[in-house]
Each structure stands twice: as structure tokens, then as C-alpha cells.
Amino acid sequence: MKKLDSKKRHVLPGDFITTSPLRLQDNVVLDGKRIISTTIGLSDVSTDNVRVISLTGIYMPKIDDLVIGRIESIFGSSWFADINSCYQGMLLGQDVFGRGSYPTTGEMKNRLDKGDIIFAKIANFDRQREPLISIADKNLGKIDSGELIKISPSKIPRLIGKQGSMIQTIEGSTNASITVGQNGLIVVSCDETNGLLKALTAIRMIDEQAHIINLTDRVKKMLESDGV
């Protein structure tokens, strides 16, 4: 382990991070004056705040997150979608058919049926109710084609990379178009089979080796090689 005063280091639940009076952000608790990590991850201490970047865990909905979901059921005038979280996303019929409309189940089924994949935004979420999702925006809605894969939600920032560098590398060299949901679900579509397979391999590689430092180079190398 690195020394305590270094900026980033690996921490486990219960590990002491620092004592100074700092603002507590994600995955830390205060025990007296000691700041303690609550999860497995990388501690990040800056001048005025402290947080732990988690390396594991499930997706917790956050307002304005873009997620990929699968319609699970239709109940009343709402759809319920599996958004890879401990809660189901609720998509109101009004969101699709307009305010004041009361669509029948048949009409709703015609628009979105069980098993359909949607790209949606978390419109609202609080402790009391299921997260409300919305597809009423540009680029949102039903996804008709592509390969759906699932990775750990904590690896999504790694997949995107700094200013989107990682995802651009993959898209650029495989001609694939990749739709990333913050909840760990990803849709990859590509006209060439080889490109599709390569993009999928690259994404799985990032999921498995997210903690390795020179991952972008490794992914580049893999993409440049001939075989998959």
C-alpha cells in the first residue's frame, strides 16, 4: 500500500483515510474525527473534500443519468423497466402519448412491448418512489438493433475515458456505434461482424481490467491486431 499522505490509494471498508476537516463526498463516513472508507475503491483526497471512487457495487439512479432499460411489464398507464438497479424504472404513459391522454394497454403495447430496449433519462428519483424515467427527448427512445451487453456500473467512467477518449478509440477503429447507459448496460451496433466482435471484446476487456493503468494502450493494441 502507498503511504497515507499520498493522494490516491486503494482502500477497503473500514480503512482510515485522513483526519483533517474536509467535506465528505461519496463512500466515506466520519467516526469521531477520522474519515473512513465504506467501500472497496480508490481514495481521492483533494484540498477541501474527500471521496472514494468505488470499484464495485450496483447502480443507484441519479437524476439526469442516461440509462438503458428493458421493458418488464405494463401496469395501469405505466411501463416498468429493468434498469439494472435495485429499483425498477417507471415510464409514464403520458410521457409517450402526451399530457392528459389515457392510453389503453393495447395502444401501449403497440408502442413499447415487454422485452423492448429503451434509452432513457432518469427524470426523478427520491427515497419514496420508484425512479421515474423519460424518453421524451432527443436521441432517447426505443433501440431497435444492436448487441446488448452488461458490465459493472462502476466501470462505466473507465469505458468512456477522459473526455471520451476510450470510447472514441473503440468507435474509431471498429466503425461501431456504442450507446452507453450509466447503469452498466451498453448497446453496440456495427455493420461489420469483425468490428462488432472487436468492440465487444474491448468492452469486456475494460470491465475485467479496469484497475490497470495503461489500459487505453492495451485496448488499442488489441483493436489493431488482426484476430478477435
Partner: protein, 245 residues
Amino acid sequence: MGGREANVVLLDENGIRSDGRKVNETRKITIKAGVLKNASGSAYIEFGGNKILAGVFGPRDVHPKHMSNPDTGILRVRYHMEPFSVGERKKPAPSRREIEISKVITEALRPAVMLEKFPRTALDVYLEVLQADGGTRCAALDAASVAIADAGIPMRDLVCACAAGKAADTIILDVNNEEDQAGQADMPIGYMPSLGKITLLQLDGVLTVDEYKKCIELGLEGCKQVYEIQKNALREKYFSDGGNN
């Protein structure tokens, strides 16, 4: 003097126990995190002759719905011994003892797990004892704690557990099956070392006040040893090969 059997020598004249350990020595402990693909988090522990598998699912929907709590998540633990885990076949239905152990493990984990972050959900922990050799509740608690951390559930600290006890009029660490059967006292302790809090404390047998204090002291030493092994198991899974440490 308890129910000591005449033919078992629990402690010889050199202070060596029936399985060759010193009085303040634990059995060999190995823990592996993330052994089950389909569970959210998992761990496997070998604690001397004990072999226990822990699987964590969730946080997920609560069924039946009326059990859910709008303020916090709920923790459900099932401790179960396989029919083949002991010498004579054990009936697979949950026994009185298993129900009790499930309850004490739940209560030992609850102060550590921050379920208030997941209202209206349940966290299910399944503990399967594949082979039992005394001290399964401590070993199961150790595995459960690693499995929950592996699932990424926020925890204030890992809960580690180890038993201390009394056999042949001596305070000993990590009571094994023989010492449990023929000894005078058994005291399982669950502990959060970083916060310095005890979450499980049971005592079966009779101890004087001095013996009790010594027993806790020794038990906590054992817990700290287990804590390091638990942390190493998690480090191995998450930070090995190519990490920046």
C-alpha cells in the same frame, strides 16, 4: 469442571492443544472473495476444518412486500448446514440452532452494513456450511462480511469474528470442535476493529470475572488476525496484478 471426557487430552504439559496449537493460536484460515459468478458478492472461507460458502444477493425487491421498510433496506441471513457437513447426516430443514445462528449473524452484521442507502430493498445473505468443525458461526460471519464488501454494499467496517474459550482450566483462542464438546466455555466474538466495536458476544459455559476479561482480550486478538486475512482476500481480488500499489 464442565463435561470433560477422560480420554481427550485438551492441553498437554507443554501447553500444546489436542490439534497441536498453542493456547493463543488460531487455526489456519484462508478466505477467497468473489467465488460465485451469479451472486452479487461471494466468499469462501476455510477456518481450520470448517468450509463455508457465502453468497450475497441484492439489494433487491422485497418479497413479501409488507416486509419492506420505506426508511431503510432490510438484511436477511440464512445460515444453513449441508446434510453432509457433519459426521452423521443432518436433516436439511432449518433446525432451532440454525435459526438462532441466522439471527445472531444478522444482528452482528447490521451495525456494519449501511442499508439506509437502499430503502425498500432487501439484502439476502446465504451461508452454506459445507464442512463443520466447531466455530462455524464465527467463520460464517467472517465469510458473510467479505461477501457483502465484495457485493459493493457500503459498510462502516468489516466484521471479523473469532471465538475464545476455556478448556482444561486454561483460556484458549479459537475453540475447535473437540474443545467445544469437552471444554468448559466457548465465547464467540464479532468485532469491528477499525471502529473498536463488538457486534457479537455470546458465552456458553461458566467463567470468573478475571477469566471473562482475559477471554475477551484473547478473542479480540484473534479477531484482529482474521481482519487482516479478510482484507487480504479483498485486496487480492480487487488490487492484484497491475494495480498502482
